[in-house]
Amino acid sequence: MPEKIKVLAVDDEKFNLILLRGCLKSDMYDITGCTNAVDALQEFKKQYFDVLLLDVLMPGIDGFELRKLIREIDAERPIIFLTALVDDINTTMLNQISWDPYTYYLNKSFSKKLLSSKIEQAVGVHRSRKTADAYSRKLEDEMALAGDIQKILLPAWCVVDSKTMMGAYYAPSGKVSGDLYEFLHISGGKYLLFIGDIAGHGMQAALYMAAMQSVLKVIIARGNVTPHELLNHLNEFFCSELCANTYMTCLAAIIDFDANKISVQSAGHPGLIGCSRLKENTWRIGDDSRGGPPVGWFESTKYSPEDTTEATFPDDTLIVGYTDGLIDACTRDNQTMNESELFELIGVLSLSSDAATFPYRLGVSLGQLGYDQSPDDVCVVAVQKNTADGVTFHNKVILPKLSMVSSTAIEFAGIIQNTRNDMELATKIEILLYEYLNNVIIHGSEGTRGPREPIYVAMAVNEKEISVRGLDRGKVWDMAGSYQPAPQPLNEPTFGRGIQIIREITDHVTHGCYNGLNETVFSIKLG
């Protein structure tokens, strides 16, 4: 049985309301009548009506004015004007009726068939639109959930262990992405760096991405593999088991951070770039013309060891990989950056960035240069050796859980106590980290959805000061940029009592935000 249609009829002439009630007397309609606009508005606020039948000329508030008031409450509820003004109809009146796309018109000398069909048309269109909107919202929610699941499948935005540091910027063009990356420890100093890009966008690409990301972990779990073996496994899975009607450009690199050696093979993917910050040198790792076709192009493809590039790299090298969404980023007048410009930009940025911040700062720099339109998914990954750079002597990535706060604060304070035998400084570091991490964990993810992002913390020291550097991907942790301590007036803290405490402890704080990555550096003078 079709859903009953609730009608609100408004006409200052009672006779017309009684006639409408008689005319629409059936199980299909439920009619409420009002003889003036004020009563009608009250009824409209009280209960849901599928459609309104309005007279145009009424004393006091007329039909058009009543529609205006209704539209303030509901912009799309169908309204049918019933009027005897047909002979007087003119452009002004036609305009008044037709400016609203959810308004219909019927002359007063209608037949039941005409009236019923007009009501059913108006209500049908409205109900279909509501159903479509609800379905669209559901799809949007599901896409957002799929995006969250993708993030869980990927490594965290920052990975740090005793040998390496990796940072990744991952930006779907919509809610989900066809890009993937992986950074896995294999054995000893060996790590796998993998970057892939499923052709196409949206859910289809995202589903293939999820499959490839999962199978990649399985292949690595089986034991040591070389880049060409990995690509062969992936091609076989892609063509034989996934039977995908698309393909994936990708790049597999085995990096030995003990021996400073890299073996890399590309399957139609942009090559890796190496940057030595000490030598201020930027180079392509391997020859882009080597390697095989994208995974999934031909089932018969055999990736061979001859196409793998073997190279060495200096200790301070930052290795950068990316998907072609980065090159596709364009200006508002559709200009894209050429590869040599990108190469140069990567070199310059690497001088002042580490692997954690580099991918985010690259995005910011592209935006500053005007390349702020990204039609494609973008993924940038940077890795480096986690060696002491002369000043940084302790760093780690922590899960954003309150239970991690105390242990992290105590760990960093303990290092200060052990290395400098300075209890006061150790206490300051402990309180500083305690307040900073609590702020980021409690307030940083307010109102955000999806998996919570880990926080990177590093401590560095030189002759003059000790600094604690935090990187988080929560809301902008507002310390009002840089500030000097009292007696200069302090800005009002935006959240958390901890900010005031931090200002008492520290001598200087700087804050930067790069494409959703917050970098906060707290400095405490020594001596």
Partner: protein, 104 residues
């Protein structure tokens, strides 16, 4: 004319016979009330009130398929738009004839 209205309510509005009869009585009552008010408005040369009443009566009459009355009411409405009290009075004669006929 009553039969014509009853036919309209039966065929176009698909009303049940008992409802149609009741509505016809109500329509005649509404017509009588409006005509009384119209007479007074014409006598007072209150053209705004004439236009309001004739618009209302056109709607009611159109709804029950009383075409002759619709035509007569529109004549009064047109006269009020001139605006001419004399023309209104002249047009009212035809409306009054039809009203009496319907009340028979």
């Amino acid at each position: 004319m009553k039969r014509k209205i009853m036919n309209y309510m039966d065929q176009a509005l698909e009303l049940e016979a008992s409802d149609a009869k009741e509505l016809l009585d109500m329509y005649i009552e509404t017509l009588n009330e409006h005509c009384t008010k119209l007479e007074a408005a014409v006598a007072a040369a209150d053209f705004n009130e004439i236009r309001r009443l004739t618009h209302s009566l056109t709607g009611c009459s159109g709804n029950v398929g009383a075409e002759e009355i619709v035509d007569a009411v529109r004549d009064v409405n047109s006269a009020a738009k001139i605006p001419s009290a004399e023309a209104c009075s002249a047009a009212m004669i035809r409306l009054e004839e039809l009203r009496l006929k319907l009340n028979e």
